[in-house]
Amino acid sequence: MTSSSLRNDNLIYFDNAATSFPKPPTVMEEMMKFMKSIGGNPSRSAHSMSVEASNIVFEARTKLAELFGVKNPMRVIMCFNATDALNLAIQGLLTEGDHAIMTSMEHNSVARPLKELEKRNKIKITVVKASNKGIVASEDIARAIIDTTKLVVVNHGSNVFGVVQQIEEIGKVCRTANVPLLVDASQTAGVIPIDVGSDNIDLLAFTGHKALGGPPGTGGLIISDNFDHSTLRPLRFGGTGSYSDKTYQPTFIPDMFESGTLNTVGIAGLLGGIDFLEKYGGIQKVYAHKKKLTKYFYNAARDNIRKIKFYIEPEICETGVVSFNIEGMEPSLVAQKLSDEYGIMARAGLHCAPMAHQTMGTFPRGTLRFSFGIFNTEKEIDRAVDALATISKG
């Protein structure tokens, strides 16, 4: 299967950091099965269709708990995407007078909820700047921690440059200072092994629709086994199928954070995505494939496109996400030509991460981004390099 085989056309999809495409066949199969024959609302009734839906949600929690190294599957809180999970963690944990730390590589999904709290005069923020390679030093995080610091938020893998932070080292710093660590794993879940226990992560936000291969509308917050969930306030309140005689929100997990009907069909699809990844060869194979394509692209591009400019070396470009520019050309114009004239889907601009571009010196123009997925091939990269070579001469 390639990125164009499902569409049965000649298009090439290099925008997997936005959302992965195509989705594995098991994703569609599980979603169809759910819509055709399961369809019940989990935890709401004792009839067999509700129980079957509950079984699917439980299975998804169990697989995700295993994937991220949490023992209790109820500590997998189902959300609608990583932004939703990050908002639950940030707005749920911070209160007036608190200080929070984020890095200069954050996506707006972290920066905006924090800046909103700052704007309302609720909290103060320190932004720890990454090096010109996009790497944050754990010592700099340690230096930024003050008495009122209640949260450190770190982008694990950059959605713009593909660099990955040394989360274990940052985790040690946070553990020593007794400050909760929230990790945004939007770009790394399903690509880089994560163990919330050994990495000293308290809260981990992930999305289901990128490297895990699931559909949009899925994601979650992992609450590590040792983190006191009662310190987190729910973002939404409402029906949970439990404590129905009470008009107050329950205080146990996962119910207290999962008001309203879950995206059950999406969760069924996510389960299909995780199953596919296991059969594919696991996270290590995903990582190896993306790394191989990244190196292949760097080499082919440097050999054939005279005016190409990369911002980091391929050795530290870890998640199949590559940012570059053609000197003297607007990235958005190049992306448009790639789409219109060559059928190649890529994303140009600031990628909702202005601070990351400022850190790497690519603000405000931005970059052109290729993000490779498991279904991309070297042959597709050859076509893209030929296209870029022609465009760069124009």
């Binding site: 709401r44 949600v57 209790n72 404590y243």
Partner: protein
């Protein structure tokens, strides 16, 4: 006929978890609606054999499966 007991939960999610653990061990269990005289919850609970209760209690403790109480029927 063996005597039955019912495990009541704060959340149906834990009833499903119990069901999976018991299924894996081939132990009798049944997910049933919560009897109204026992709780006003709209979810479900797990019916088990009373004779299995001590083993099940140990299992739930081992895995950290939270439950409200066990009622003999």
């Amino acid at each position: 006929m063996a005597e039955k007991s019912i495990i009541l939960y704060y959340s149906s999610n834990y009833a499903i978890w119990t069901s999976k653990l018991l299924h894996k061990r081939g132990m009798y269990h049944k997910l049933i609606p919560v009897p109204r005289h026992l709780s006003s919850d709209c979810g479900y609970c797990v019916e088990v054999r009373t004779e299995d209760v001590p083993i099940i209690e140990g299992l739930l403790k081992e895995y950290g499966v939270e439950y409200e109480r066990i009622e003999m029927m």
